[in-house]
Subunit: 230 residues, 2 copies
DNA sequence: CCATGTGAATGTTTTCACAGCT
DNA sequence: AGCTGTGAAAACATTCACATGG
């Protein structure tokens, strides 16, 4: 029998838990209750306890959770206790911002390959990674065994780039292009879509309504929407 | 009595419907069934019909929907039938990528003010918008009547920037910083969090599991993930 | 006959509330 | 006394399935 199916919505909350625990650890906090953690994150204590219960028992009754231990446990569940090579396709303003971002390395990722179409970009280096021609995309991804791709090319090129990443062995894609990618069932996609996010925010503006269910919607809403960056 | 409360999850799907309809229009398609639209987007036909039913009747039995008319109706619901001024805080690699992005104008937004801390950036122009000192943030936002802010500053500065945007009158924030912003109930926040997205993807990699519920999870998952406001 | 719009059924996620352990 | 982990209940979201109207 299967260990029980874990809802994707739960998986999407775990990185926030892990990040918050690491921040607490940096602040010298070594123990935390679900109540306290929930307050920092903006979710209920019950939700945190329920989410964690899918994976085991990490707390001590009457005491709470050991911050370091729980952070490690979640990192392990998410396979963050190793470094993942990522392939970046696209080197326009967005791709360059992604390539320069220093938040990947401390969080288990490394931009291990960058692909551009513009000949002027090919050969440039960012953080020690050389920009390659996008014609090499499938081959290099395959040879390097890369399983994660970031699509930061214009909408019109996104599906083609995704297809070629998948042909090279990519199984997870972070898509910044405003397009719904068609991928086989073995491939996971998360969308980063700031325009959609803004367009849904305007619904609540200027019509005199107060948003309601505000606090509750917070993290869940974010997780549901997967958004984008830019 | 209130017109009935519309779930935020529904609001978050509308921009995708609108975008897809506009793409179809560009392709010369003038009529569409919920079945066909759902297939393009990756959701069920029933979901599209249910979502639209919160707002009225837009289709013709036996015929489907008029693409242009439905796109306009959704744009109207989301208040996209006007242009929204947006304030951008942060002008590092990410902020510059956002400032240069050409996708705002055609989608009802305009980066109307940019704020930086680095003196070398202040005074620069991007698409006709001058970069101002972040010390001016609250005053300028207030004077310009800006209601939407984009936070693209380092994590440590994000809460302070958000507070000052809100003091200036901002009611909706797109947050790129990896921090949970604390905001009053009258303010909505959506998170753009690529690191979290990647960290949830790795759960599914390398453990031999096939993703399941994949197709169904797609759009909903993305929507669920974005978080915020509340 | 086709496809919408929607009650009813089903499925999923969150919250309640408390037994049980420290 | 305090807080976890979890059955059970409630709330929420999706899908079914069909009456209805073009």
């Amino acid at each position: 029998m299967r260990p029980r199916e874990i809802p994707d919505i739960v998986i999407r909350r775990l990185p926030i838990y892990e990040r918050t625990l690491k921040q607490m650890l940096d602040a010298g906090i070594t123990s935390v209750s679900s109540e306290e953690l929930g307050e920092r994150i903006g979710v209920t204590a019950a939700q945190i306890r329920r989410d964690l219960s899918y994976f085991g028992k990490f707390g001590k009754q009457g005491k709470g959770y050991d911050v370091a231990r729980l952070a490690e446990a979640i990192a392990h569940i998410l396979h963050l206790d190793r470094q993942w090579d990522v392939a970046l396709a696209g080197f326009g303003h967005l791709g360059q911002a992604i390539a320069h971002y220093r938040g990947f390395e401390p969080n288990s990722f490394r931009i291990a390959a960058i692909f551009a179409r513009n000949p002027e970009h090919i050969g440039q280096q960012v953080n020690g990674t050389v920009v390659l021609s996008e014609t090499e995309l499938t081959r290099v991804i395959q040879e390097m065994g890369i399983k994660i791709g970031i699509v930061a090319v214009p909408a019109a090129a996104a599906q083609n780039v995704a297809d070629r990443m998948i042909a090279g062995g990519v199984r997870a894609i972070l898509n910044y292009a405003p397009v719904i990618l068609k991928v086989p069932p073995s491939v996971w996609v998360r969308e980063i879509d700031p325009i959609s996010a803004l367009q849904s925010l305007t619904y609540y503006l200027d019509n005199g309504d107060q948003p309601d269910g505000h606090a509750a919607a917070s993290l869940n809403h974010r997780l549901a929407t997967e958004a984008t960056g830019d």
